[in-house]
Structure formats: structure tokens, C-alpha cells
């Protein structure tokens, strides 16, 4: 008889890790809303929210309270089950991405060495893409279940946009994978942080450019926020939503933003690697736990910078028209990604096998 050995400590360790990462990403998403309004204010020569608490830091709490207090409206003609499922799905897919991201190297607690990654699966990137494309379901189900033609149109808009940009995103990642030769995010980060290893941005500037543009489109952020063009088209796929269900959709968008920022940092900017520092010697001098904290902080700062870029772009660039969006996605991004892939492939082949002619 085969005995399934369940290591209780292992389960506990992962549970704590999952809880920690989820609460951190929720907190980051919460304060992204604050940061967004602050950045918007500063870029428009205003001060942004500064009434609730010091620097307006309690503003997200007030916003959340407001959303909770609002009346929960479920339209009569809607499909109630799917109507409630929609925002839940959007939130869940947004959170699930965090499972494969390495947040730091290792820490030692109670004699155990704990990896700061929920699951080091060898198909990490594939998993992320699978989860990201599931995000479309949140939009589609929400738009369809509302039983409102405008919501449905907005959902279609959103879904087709996400699918078109996912192609270019995937292609830009393939070029990266040719270089690293691994789908595991941990391996990718370790390759970048190894001594003598450069960050992938050095090898793949074009790939990164394509990736960041597609990330904007995936997160439905300006200049690609057509699914919810709040001021000129109808509000979007969450038009019929109110109260915290609307809050979930908006929140999921901010979590997505955080996750894609972390992903960009992980894939192209060395992940938790602390720049200009030799990690091995740092571990000797400071101890493993301290270094893990610093690494987490380094990843977090990189992600915070990208979140800032997201906001910066939002308050700079006007929205694309839908045909321009599709034109950019299919006629510019995908060919560029293909060319990038081709060039990378040639370089990798030549480096491995030598110049054949």
C-alpha cells in the first residue's frame, strides 16, 4: 500500500505564503487606487486626495467603505448566477497569477528552508498565460449576464482586444524563452541574477517594448481602455454592476496591473535580483533571511516603478480608436514580435552552432 506522506509543515508553510502574498497584493491594489489618484493629481497640477488621513492615505479605506455601503442591484433580466460569478472570476484570475512568481530566494524559519514562491512549476509562463486568458471570462460573463446590449458590446470589445494582444505578448515571450531555455520563472530569474548574467532587457529591448504595450492592453489600461471607455462609449462591461461587485471588477484591474508589473520585473528586469550586488557574498555577510527581505523589496520597487509607468502613460496618452487598436495589434505588434523572434532565433542558433557558412 502506498502511503501518501503529507508533510503538515509543508502545507502550513504554503498556506501562510499564499495568505501573505494575497494580502500583500490586495494591499498593493488598494494603494494603487490611491497612488493613481495622487499621480493623476500631480500630473494635472493638482494635489490629489489629501483629506482622509495624512497625505490622504486612508482614502482607499473610505472608498472601500463607500462601495460596501452602496445598494447591491441585480437586474431582473440578468442571469443571477453568472452575474455574481463574473466579478468573482475576474478577481480570482487576477489573484491566481501570483502563484508562480518568485518573490525572493529563500528564508530559513525554524530550521526549514522555505522558497519564497508558492509553486515552482516548470511551465510557469504557460500557467500565467493560461490564467491571463481566463481573465477574459470575467469580462465576457459579466457583460453577458447583465443582459444589457451595451454591456455585451463592451464585453465583446474587451474580449477581442485581450485575445488579439495576447498573441503578440506570447510571441514576444517566445523570443525570451529561446534565450533562457526554460519556462520556469525561477530559472529565468536565477539566470539573470547569476554572476555575469545580464538582465533580459539587455538582450530583448524590442521584446520588452512589445510586452509592455501588450500588458497595457491586457490590463485594459489607457491608451487601450476601450472595454470601459467611461467618458465617450457606454461605461463598459460592468455597466449594470453596483456596490462591491463593481468594486471587484475595478479592484481586479489594479491587481492585474500589479501582477503584470511584477511579471515585467521578473522576466526582463532580473526579478528579485538586487542590482550591482553579488548575492552570494551578501548572504554570507547578512544572513539568508535579511537578503530575502532585501530581494523582496527590490522586486517590489521594480514593480512599483512599473505601476507608476502604467499611471504615467494613462495620464499622458489619449485612447485609441477601435480600428487603430486592432491595426496596432495585428499589423504592427504581431509582425514586430515575429521579426524579434526570428532574429533571436538566428542569434541563438549561431551562438550554439557557430557560423555555418
Amino acid at each position: 500500500m502506498i502511503q501518501l506522506a503529507i508533510d503538515l509543515a509543508f502545507v502550513l508553510e504554503k498556506a501562510i505564503l499564499i495568505g501573505g502574498i494575497i494580502s500583500v497584493s490586495l494591499l498593493v491594489a488598494m494603494y494603487s487606487t490611491w497612488a493613481e489618484r495622487k499621480v493623476a493629481g500631480f500630473m494635472q497640477d493638482r494635489l490629489g486626495p489629501n483629506r482622509a488621513g495624512p497625505f490622504g492615505l486612508f482614502q482607499p479605506l473610505a472608498d472601500g467603505l463607500k462601495l460596501f455601503m452602496k445598494e447591491e442591484i441585480i437586474p431582473n433580466a440578468s442571469n443571477k448566477f453568472l452575474f455574481i460569478l463574473g466579478p468573482g472570476l475576474a478577481m480570482m484570475t487576477a489573484m491566481m497569477t501570483s502563484a508562480v512568481i518568485p518573490w525572493g530566494k529563500q528564508i530559513e524559519i525554524f530550521g526549514r528552508t522555505v522558497d519564497l514562491q508558492i509553486a515552482d512549476i516548470n511551465i510557469g509562463i504557460l500557467y500565467i498565460f493560461a490564467v491571463l486568458s481566463m481573465g477574459v471570462y470575467g469580462i465576457m460573463i459579466g457583460g453577458w449576464a447583465s443582459n444589457n446590449k451595451f454591456s455585451l458590446l463592451a464585453a465583446l470589445r474587451g474580449a477581442s482586444q485581450m485575445i488579439s494582444y495576447e498573441l503578440a505578448m506570447g510571441l514576444s515571450i517566445i523570443a525570451l524563452l529561446m534565450l533562457t531555455g526554460s519556462l520556469s520563472l525561477k530559472t529565468i530569474v536565477e539566470l539573470q541574477s547569476a554572476s555575469g548574467g545580464w538582465w533580459n532587457i539587455v538582450y530583448q529591448p524590442l521584446g520588452f517594448l512589445i510586452f509592455i504595450v501588450c500588458a497595457f492592453a491586457e490590463c485594459n489600461r489607457t491608451p487601450f481602455d476601450l472595454p470601459e471607455a467611461e467618458n465617450e462609449l457606454n461605461f463598459g462591461y460592468h455597466q449594470e454592476y453596483s456596490s462591491m461587485k463593481l468594486g471587484f471588477y475595478l479592484f481586479a484591474e489594479y491587481i492585474n496591473m500589479f501582477m503584470s508589473s511584477v511579471l515585467m520585473a521578473t522576466l526582463y528586469f532580473g526579478g528579485y535580483d538586487i542590482p550591482f550586488v553579488n548575492d552570494a557574498s551578501l548572504i554570507e555577510s547578512m544572513g539568508m533571511n535579511m537578503v530575502a527581505v532585501l530581494q523582496g523589496l527590490s522586486l517590489f520597487l521594480k514593480a512599483a516603478f512599473f505601476i507608476f509607468v502604467f499611471m504615467w502613460v494613462r495620464w499622458t496618452i489619449p485612447r485609441f480608436r477601435y480600428d487603430q487598436l486592432m491595426h496596432l495589434g495585428w499589423k504592427v505588434m504581431i509582425p514586430l514580435a515575429l521579426i524579434n523572434m526570428l532574429i533571436t532565433a538566428i542569434v541563438v542558433l549561431v551562438r550554439e552552432n557557430g557560423w555555418p557558412f
Partner: protein, 181 residues
């Protein structure tokens, strides 16, 4: 066609060059502009904490004045009410009794003095009409209120603090303008 001004410019319709078609340089330019605004000084005045300085001729809420000994100047002559183009001022006169000399400067005083701040247009004609220097317009404006009745200011709201009993409040109410006189 003859131009009316030399400011008009012909619309530039030349086909975009490759550099312009790349779109990214333009984005970088735009982003540098927004970033420069990010670090600019903000013109906001945080109202309750900071206030914008009023002009020296600002005409705000009315104040019923007292003399140096803390006696009310107003004699309820009614000239301000007559001068008022918005008919915002009403008053009732009363005669000063024995033993009230420390309260009112002259034999007659205003037992009731009301200004409807919703009717008042803050023209300052009452101030000009007053022969006793009893009413003048201060440097504050009427705060908001939930009820219309709240905007009818009585003597309690209008009288300046007693300069003998509360000299600090009195100075504050007198404001910058009176100090210069």
C-alpha cells in the same frame, strides 16, 4: 485672401515621415511633458488650513462696532436700513435705561438688529450711510448653513467682541483693514 492677423497658420498636411510614424518618439515627448508637470509647484490652496488673502477693499460679513470702552455704537437710526438696496436690514430701537450707560454709547440703541445674509449683496452702502461708525464690512464671508433661518444674523452674530473683556477676539474681528486706519 488677405489675412486679418499674422497669427493664423496653414494646417500641416504633409505625409508622416518614418520617424513620426514610429509613434514612440512622440509618446516619449508627451510623457516628458506630463512628468515635468508632476514636479511642478501646485497652485492649490488647502482651504480650511490655508486661506487666500482678501483684498484690502474686500466687503464681507457685517460687524456691529463698539467703542473703546466696549459700548455699542449703534443708535438704531435706521439710515443703514434705508440705504440698503436689497432691504436686508431690519432693526428695532429701544431707549437706554438708567444703569445701562456702560452698554450703549448713546440714549437710543438697537434692541434688535437683523441682517439677512441671503438678501445682502455686500455693496457696503450701510457702512457708508452710518453716521456713528457702527457698522462696517469685515474680511470674512458668511459660512454655509443648512437652513435659511441660519442666514438671518442677529445682534449676537454681528456684534464685535468687547474690546475690554476679550481684546484678542476683538483685534481679530477688527482685522487688517481697521488696524491700518
Amino acid at each position: 485672401m488677405q489675412m486679418l492677423t499674422n497669427r493664423s497658420k496653414a494646417v500641416d498636411r504633409h505625409p508622416m515621415t518614418v520617424w513620426e510614424k514610429m509613434y514612440l518618439p512622440a509618446i516619449a515627448k508627451g510623457m516628458s511633458i506630463t512628468l515635468s508637470h508632476f514636479f511642478k509647484k501646485k497652485p492649490t490652496i488647502n482651504y480650511p488650513e490655508e486661506t487666500r488673502p482678501f483684498s484690502p477693499v474686500f466687503r464681507g460679513l457685517h460687524i456691529l462696532n463698539r467703542d473703546e470702552e466696549g459700548r455699542e455704537n449703534c443708535t438704531a437710526c435706521g439710515l443703514c436700513a434705508v440705504a440698503c438696496p436689497a432691504e436686508a436690514i431690519t432693526m428695532e430701537a429701544a431707549e437706554r435705561k438708567e444703569g445701562e450707560e456702560h452698554l450703549y454709547r448713546e440714549e437710543k440703541y438697537a434692541a434688535k438688529y437683523e441682517i439677512n445674509m441671503l438678501r445682502c449683496i455686500f455693496c457696503g452702502l450701510c457702512e457708508e450711510a452710518c453716521p456713528k461708525d457702527a457698522i462696517y464690512l469685515s474680511e470674512t464671508f458668511a459660512p454655509s448653513n443648512y437652513k435659511r433661518e441660519g442666514f438671518i444674523y442677529g445682534k449676537n452674530d454681528l456684534l464685535i467682541p468687547d474690546p475690554k473683556k476679550e481684546p484678542e477676539l476683538y483685534q481679530k474681528a477688527v482685522g487688517e483693514r481697521a488696524r491700518k486706519k
